[in-house]
C-alpha cells in the first residue's frame, strides 16, 4: 500500500514535470526573436511560487487572471461533481439492485447520454431553460463579490451540462458494479440461508459494489476539468477554458501555457487524491503491496 502510493505520487509528479517542460519549450519557441529566455529551473520555480509571468498581450501579469478564472472553474467543477455523484451514482445504485425493463431502459438512456457532448447538452439546456423559459441565465457570469446568488445561478446550467454525461458514465459503472456484487457467492450463500435480498446485499455486497465503482469515480473526477474547459465556452463563462482559448487565438503563449499548467495540475492532483483514497479503502490493496 505504502509502496504503491509512493509510486503513484512520484508518477504524477514526473508527469507534471514533463508537462511543464513541454509548456516551457513551447513558450520559449514562441518568444519574439530578441526576448531573453529564463532557464527551465528558474521558470519552474517562478511557476511554483504562483508567478506565471507577463501576458504578452500587454494585459499585465497572468497570475491574477488565472486566480479570477479559478473562481469560476473550481466551483463549476465542484457543483458538477456533486450533481454527477448524487444523480448518476444514486440512480446507478438503485438501478443495479434489480433487473427489470425499467433498469434496462435506464441503462440504454445512460449509454446515449454518456457520449453526448457536454457542450451540446449545454446549448440545448441554455435554449430551453434560458432563452425559452427564462428560468436561468443563458450564459455569462456575475462575479461572486457583487452577487453570490446570481453567480451560483449562472453556474447551475453549465454544471448540469457537465454532470449529465459524466453522471451517466458513472451510473453505468455503478449499475454494473452493483449487479456484479449481487451475484457473488457470499450473497448467494446468504440468500440460500434464508436472508432477504436487502439483508444479503447490505451484509455481503454493498462494500464490494462501492469499491468496484471507485475507478470510474476517479476517472470521472479527473476528467471533469478538461470537460469543463469546453462546457464553459457554451455559456460564455470566464473560466480557465476561456483563458486557454483566448491565449491560443491571440498567440499569447504565457497566458495559454500558464492556464494549461494549472489545468494539468488540477487534473493530475484530483486523479491522484481520488486514487489514493480508493487504495486506502480497499482492504485487499491495503494488505498486499500491489
Amino acid at each position: 500500500m505504502i509502496r504503491s502510493s509512493i509510486i503513484s505520487v512520484l508518477g504524477a509528479l514526473l508527469l507534471l514535470l514533463t508537462a511543464a517542460a513541454a509548456i516551457y519549450f513551447v513558450e520559449v519557441a514562441t518568444l519574439p526573436g530578441s526576448a531573453p529566455a529564463a532557464g527551465f529551473a528558474d521558470w519552474l520555480s517562478l511557476m511554483v511560487q504562483g508567478d506565471f509571468g507577463l501576458s504578452s498581450a500587454a494585459a499585465g501579469p497572468v497570475a491574477p487572471m488565472i486566480a479570477a478564472a479559478l473562481s469560476v472553474t473550481l466551483p463549476l467543477v465542484a457543483l458538477a461533481a456533486i450533481l454527477a455523484v448524487a444523480l448518476g451514482g444514486g440512480l446507478g445504485w438503485l438501478a443495479g439492485r434489480r433487473d427489470g425493463v425499467l433498469q434496462r431502459a435506464l441503462g440504454g438512456a445512460w449509454q446515449i447520454l454518456a457520449i453526448a457532448p457536454g457542450f451540446w447538452i449545454g446549448l440545448l439546456l441554455a435554449s430551453v431553460f434560458g432563452a425559452a423559459l427564462h428560468w436561468l441565465p443563458t450564459g455569462g457570469f456575475v462575479p461572486w463579490s457583487s452577487d453570490w446568488a446570481a453567480a451560483t445561478r449562472s453556474l447551475l446550467l453549465p454544471a448540469l451540462a457537465l454532470a449529465l454525461p459524466a453522471g451517466a458514465r458513472l451510473a453505468l459503472a455503478v449499475q454494473h458494479s452493483v449487479r456484479t456484487a449481487r451475484g457473488t457467492r457470499p450473497v448467494l450463500a446468504a440468500r440460500a440461508r434464508g436472508a432477504s435480498d436487502d439483508v444479503a446485499f447490505a451484509l455481503h455486497a454493498q462494500r464490494a459494489a462501492l469499491l468496484g465503482a471507485a475507478p470510474a469515480l476517479v476517472d470521472m473526477l479527473a476528467f471533469l476539468f478538461a470537460a469543463a474547459v469546453v462546457v464553459e465556452s457554451a455559456f460564455y463563462l470566464p473560466g480557465l477554458g476561456r483563458l486557454i482559448v483566448d491565449g491560443v487565438v491571440a498567440r499569447n503563449a504565457p497566458l495559454a501555457g500558464g492556464a494549461l499548467l494549472v489545468l494539468v495540475t488540477l487534473t493530475l492532483a484530483t486523479g491522484l487524491v481520488a486514487r489514493l483514497a480508493t487504495m486506502g479503502l480497499d482492504p485487499l490493496r491495503r494488505r498486499s503491496s500491489r
Binding site: L15, T30, W120, R169, V230, V245, G247, L263
Partner: protein, 271 residues
C-alpha cells in the same frame, strides 16, 4: 450489434462522401435573403445565418468528422500497437518505458492541442495530430493486454509444445484475434476522436470557420443565440449517431472476439 452499428456508420460516412461530388445546395454560396429558414420542402434542415443550406453542410461536416476519426485512429494504431506488442513480449525491459510513455501521451488531448496550436496554428490538421497522439496510449494498452489474454488458453501452450516457433505461434493463434481486438478498439476510439474533434471545433481551437465541420456549425448556431432549432439540433444528432454507431459496432466486435477481456476503462472521452 456489429451489423447494425456498421450499417448506420457506413450510411453516414457515405453521405459525407457523396457531398464531395453532389450536395442539394452549393456549400458556400451566401444568400442573406434566405437566412434562418426553418425546415421545409426545399431545405430539409432549414438554412443557417448566412442563408446556406444546413443539410448540405451537415453531410460535408460528417466527412470532416469521419476523416478526423480515421486518420487519428490510424496514427494511434501505427504507433501504439508495436509498442504494446513490445511491452507484452519483453515484459521486464519494455514495460516501464512503455508505461511512462503511455502516461504522457495519455494527458488530455486538449493539452497537446493547445501546445501544437501555439507552435503552428489552430486548424483541423492540428486537431487531428493532437487526437492521433492521444489515441496512442489506449492502443498500447489494447495490444499489450490483448496479447496477454490471448496467450492464456491451452491451445496456445499446445502450439508451443507441438514445436511451433514463437513467431509461427503468434501468426497462427495471436495475430488474427489481436487484429479483431485492435479493430474493435479502433472503432471505439474513432468515436471518441470524432466527439473530441467536434468539441475542439466548437471551442475555436480545431477546425476553423473556413472548414465545414460539425463543431464549427454548432459554434455558429450558438453565436446566433439559437435562432434556428434545426441548426442547433441537427449537427449534434448527426454527431451522436455517428459516434454511437461506431461505439456499438466496436463493442459488439469486442464481445464476439474476446468476451473475457474487459474493455479499457469503458468509454472515455479524449477531449
Amino acid at each position: 450489434m456489429v451489423t447494425g452499428g456498421g450499417l448506420v456508420a457506413t450510411l453516414l460516412v457515405a453521405a459525407g462522401l457523396v457531398s464531395l461530388v453532389w450536395t442539394p445546395y452549393a456549400l458556400d454560396v451566401l444568400d442573406p435573403t434566405a437566412a434562418w429558414r426553418s425546415p421545409m420542402a426545399g431545405h430539409w434542415l432549414g438554412t443557417d445565418g448566412l442563408g446556406r443550406d444546413v443539410f448540405s453542410r451537415l453531410t460535408r461536416g460528417l466527412l470532416s468528422s469521419a476523416v478526423a476519426g480515421l486518420v487519428a485512429t490510424t496514427m494511434g494504431v501505427i504507433v501504439g500497437v508495436p509498442l504494446g506488442l513490445a511491452a507484452a513480449a519483453w515484459r521486464v525491459t519494455a514495460s516501464w518505458p512503455v508505461a511512462g510513455l503511455s502516461a504522457f501521451v495519455g494527458l488530455p488531448a486538449i493539452f497537446t492541442l493547445v501546445l501544437l496550436s501555439l507552435l503552428t496554428a489552430p486548424g483541423l490538421a492540428t486537431a487531428i495530430l493532437a487526437l492521433g497522439i492521444a489515441s496512442i496510449a489506449p492502443m498500447i494498452a489494447t495490444a499489450r493486454d490483448g496479447v496477454r489474454t490471448i496467450k492464456g488458453p491451452v491451445y496456445f501452450d499446445a502450439a508451443r509444445l507441438a514445436g511451433l516457433s514463437g513467431i509461427e505461434t503468434f501468426r497462427r493463434h495471436v495475430a488474427p484475434a489481436l487484429a479483431r481486438l485492435v479493430l474493435a478498439q479502433g472503432l471505439r476510439q474513432g468515436a471518441a476522436v470524432i466527439l473530441a474533434e467536434a468539441a475542439f471545433g466548437f471551442l475555436g481551437l480545431g477546425a476553423q470557420p473556413a472548414t465545414i465541420s460539425l463543431g464549427v456549425m454548432l459554434r455558429e448556431a450558438m453565436a446566433a443565440g439559437g435562432q434556428s432549432p434545426a441548426a442547433l439540433l441537427a449537427p449534434g444528432i448527426a454527431l451522436l449517431l455517428l459516434a454511437g454507431a461506431l461505439l456499438v459496432a466496436g463493442a459488439g466486435l469486442q464481445q464476439q472476439t474476446e468476451p473475457r477481456l474487459r474493455s479499457v476503462g469503458g468509454f472515455r472521452g479524449l477531449a
